[in-house]
């Protein structure tokens, strides 16, 4: 069943308030529904206190709400609540894994396997850990269509590979990687499997058990939640053995002046006062998305991207798009217009109220591979309409006309 778009759009105050805006940058961050804005405000107005500390009822109520959010996020990805760690965002989640797991488990000569389509958030933390441990970094290459070159996997998965960290859905190509298959093969080779779910968790149903990974990271702000709260899911057995990343209050069992012992997961990984209100509002976002239906959202994104690519192919031959064509492609369209620079294109579209992003989208290695310093990118979400895609296409035609001497 298609989404009932009008009702969905009505849920987003910013969208209702700006009828002329065509917001096509949800891949960077999504807009927020009323339910999430209200959850934030309600918590601050009615139940605010620090968590896990006070013996008074207000703090207990705040703790309950925070832990309730953990349950909701666990349900959102098919996990146990003890496996859900609240962090700031995907970047922090991946740093947590790289530091807590990587520094303790990687040795000189070990290998870290990534891919050529990774976001900087899944590259730089590994660079830092590789420098300290002497581990080496390798990458799964891409096919010309922008899929993982899986034929190369067996050769790459030597016994030296101790961790495979991979993006689930590319924020540039829209490619949905066959993570379950890679995870199966990587685990058979004895490697830890980490998944960057920043783009998949907001847009498709996720069942971490079915993915077969050890860690799964995502950001709340890309899935209708507020900024400042995200999730690292870790398989219970792996978390049990994992040393802390940050130390401080809340994550301890017992502290002496010269030593301390640590709490069980997930508290072990939540040092200091967490983003309480943000986590609670993220719970509201997950409820909201589940209410709409993650499968519906995925089908909606799919329909939009197919429609957009078809029109671009047929009506704008000067536009080059990137990423695979097929069911393994989400609602992201990175493109270039002739030889024009992405900034010039995005800036011109902005004059028509069309918000697209221009740049390397934190994926410089991928852009180097594409042979471009930057691309423009339009991306879709549950509130995006076909009419907005039409306006985008018409806008691009005007831009083409405006820059006709430049192409």
């Amino acid at each position: 069943m298609p989404l009932t778009l009008e009702s969905v759009r009505q849920d987003f105050p910013l969208i209702v308030g700006k009828p002329d805006l065509v917001y096509l940058d949800s891949t960077a961050s999504s807009q927020k529904p009323q339910a999430v804005i209200e959850a934030l405000e309600r918590f601050y107005r009615e139940s605010y206190a620090n968590v896990h500390r006070g013996a008074y009822s207000l703090s207990l109520a705040a703790t309950d709400a925070y832990e309730q959010a953990r349950h909701t996020l666990a349900r959102f990805i098919g996990a146990q609540p003890e496996e859900v760690i609240f962090v700031r965002n995907t970047t922090e989640a991946l740093n947590l894994v790289a530091y807590a797991w990587g520094l303790h488990n990687l040795r000189e000569g070990d290998e870290i396997l990534l891919s050529e389509m990774e976001h900087h958030a899944n590259l730089v933390p590994w660079h830092l850990v590789a420098q300290r441990t002497g581990a080496r970094i390798k990458a799964i290459p891409l096919t010309p269509e922008g899929r993982l070159e899986l034929c190369a996997l067996d050769e790459l998965l030597t016994e030296r590979v101790k961790v495979v960290s991979l993006v689930h859905m590319s924020n540039v190509l829209g490619t949905v990687n066959p993570v379950a298959e890679v995870a199966r093969r990587a685990k058979a080779a004895g490697a830890l499997v980490v998944v960057d779910g920043a783009q998949s968790a907001p847009h498709m149903p996720i069942d971490v058990k079915a993915l077969g990974a050890d860690f799964f990271a995502f950001s709340g702000h890309k899935m209708c939640g507020p900024t400042g709260a995200g999730v690292l899911w870790g398989r219970a057995e792996v978390l049990q053995e994992l040393p802390p990343f940050l130390g401080g209050g809340e994550m301890i069992l017992e502290v002496h002046v010269d030593r301390s012992s640590y709490a069980r997961p997930p508290q072990r990984f939540e040092a200091g006062t967490p983003p309480i209100a943000e986590a609670i509002a993220l719970g509201a976002a997950a409820e909201y998305l589940m209410g709409v239906g993650m499968e519906q959202i995925w089908q909606h994104d799919r329909a939009l991207v197919e429609y957009c690519l078809k029109r671009l192919d047929e009506e704008l031959p000067e536009v080059r798009t990137f990423g695979p064509r097929g069911k393994d492609r989400g609602g992201v369209v990175a493109f270039s217009l002739g030889s024009l620079h992405a900034h010039d294109v995005a800036c011109a579209l902005d004059q028509y109220g069309i918000a697209v992003r221009a740049g390397h989208h934190c994926a410089q290695p991928l852009h180097r591979k594409l042979g471009l310093a930057s691309t423009a990118r339009a991306s879709f979400y549950l509130y995006t309409t076909f009419e907005e895609v039409d306006r985008f296409i018409e806008g691009l035609k005007q831009v083409r006309e405006f820059f006709k001497d430049w192409l």
Partner: protein
């Protein structure tokens, strides 16, 4: 589109397609890279100083029409200037782009970029070459 029509004039097209001094410089006194980390645009600026003046300026890089035009015209304008004079031009250019100040006549054709002030997202594009020049002259 009014903002764009004011900005994307013939002169930008010319410098975008045929940037001036777009080459490396043998025997440069200073060679300075500049990047815009947010978008990945980059350039390399070469200066040859002689008798306390910028005898030659050249650059290479990639970027949008605004950053290319800015670098192209800058490389032409600073030739023959002393470093303090070049820094004074930098100040005037940035005042025009960042603060929206009235374009100084010494900026010549660069005044065509004055409209960038109204396109906040592009301020960094226009100033990339100039920030690189400032770095280069510090050396």
């Amino acid at each position: 589109m009014k903002l764009l029509e004011e900005l994307y004039k013939e002169i930008l097209l010319r410098h975008y397609k045929h940037p001036l001094n777009f080459r490396t410089l043998e025997g440069a006194s200073v060679k300075m890279p500049g990047v815009n980390p947010s978008c990945g645009d980059s350039l390399e600026l070469y200066l040859r100083l002689e008798d306390g003046r910028i005898a030659e300026a050249a650059w290479q890089g990639q970027g949008c029409a605004i950053s290319m035009t800015s670098a192209s015209l800058m490389s032409e304008l600073i030739k023959g200037k002393t470093p303090p004079e070049a820094l004074e031009l930098t100040r005037k250019f940035k005042a025009m782009i960042v603060d929206g100040a009235e374009p100084a006549p010494e900026l010549g054709d660069l005044r065509a970029l004055a409209g960038v002030h109204k396109l906040h997202a592009r301020v960094k594009c226009a100033t990339l070459a100039w920030n690189t020049l400032e770095e280069a002259l510090k050396e």
